[in-house]
Symmetry: C2
Subunit: 211 residues, 2 copies
């Protein structure tokens, strides 16, 4: 195994990484989607995402308009919240909200026999005003709850990033959200994660300019 | 694609997930390491980790002793910090520190032409007292810095979790840390991440009891 380090300036590491990703892509990808697909691969070192990421029609333009308009981001985990570039998001007026740790959310989940993830989505639907982007990297129950609230007309998200990871109801929750009639970016299958959710959001934010 | 949800109580989802993981493992795994390997697969839905995770001799016993002894955890990202079960860690007296966002770290990195990741490890070596577990899920430069400080005798970590992800110096940094002579858990190759670092730590914490 090689242990000799490549000599490279810190500021050049990301550029070099994206060059390697581009050179190793399993097939050509849509130029409009490339920054998102490549950033997810950058975050995971997993080229499967070149095949599993699914995008609704015209979703990038819609997502960028929402971010530019100061849309709030709601995540299902504090990990996703931690991974989003909040400083650059704030330049467009947006901020990241996560209700999973709230005491009232835990209490309602206990009382209703549901999950904190479900109740955190319900709380978001009640307390967050204006356009909202949901970024779900962990809980399929959160994604199913969004699907139900959308179908009931209770919410109309500007974008749903649906990339929960796991083995129980994860595949199904992603298929459902793609039928909800709202803009989506979804990682089909079992894979995903809070890191993937954050990477997709950061890719969108960076498309509006890095400085 | 199936969209019919499996009916399952929230409290049973994790148990069911681990059953599925166990049934789909590509080969038998060491029983002492199984909780760690399975939790990483649970976090990533990626069975490659059954082959890439590397453990130093007797590392689980050493790691559990360190956590039980109240070892501090130092991460390279706020995402890893967010993902660790800090409530359960606190029961053993431990807490999670991350210096990546500190203003003095950013300033020193600028002055030295290094990375914030490198300087955050140097700061940890200076300010964190007692036994330390380093959990590196993002920056190979942080892992290389740890290697150098270990070789110089400046630090002697109770455990290094070396699971940065990426394309430049990531593979090499992991091979280096496995030669440093300290207890390690490493995901060989390009894959890893802050989520993987947190999952490994949580697996260890849960081995000491979930309640």
């Amino acid at each position: 195994m090689k242990t000799e380090l490549e000599r490279i300036a810190p500021m050049d590491i990301e550029r070099r990484s994206f060059e390697i990703i581009t050179s190793e892509l399993p097939h050509p990808i849509d130029a409009a989607l490339a920054p998102i697909i490549k950033r997810v691969i950058h975050t995971t070192a997993d080229f499967e995402y070149a095949d599993t990421l699914c995008f609704s029609e015209d979703v990038v333009a819609q997502a960028l308009a929402a971010i530019r308009g100061g849309a709030a981001i709601v995540t299902d985990t504090t990990m996703a919240q931690a991974g989003i570039n909040k400083r650059m998001l704030a330049k467009h007026g947006g901020s990241v909200r996560c209700f999973i740790g709230d005491e009232d959310v835990a209490e309602t989940a206990r009382k209703n026999g549901t999950t904190r993830s479900i109740e955190s989505m319900k709380k978001a639907a009640t307390v967050v005003e204006g356009p909202v982007i949901f970024a779900i990297g962990n809980a399929p129950t959160a994604l199913v709850q969004l699907y139900e609230m959308i179908r009931e007309g209770a919410i109309s998200p500007a974008l749903v990033i649906g990339v929960p990871v796991g083995f129980v109801n994860v595949v199904q929750s992603k298929e459902l959200i793609m039928q909800a009639g709202v803009p989506y970016i979804v990682a089909r299958g079992r894979k995903g994660g809070s890191n993937v959710a954050a990477a997709i959001l950061n890719a969108l934010i960076y498309m509006l300019g890095r400085e």
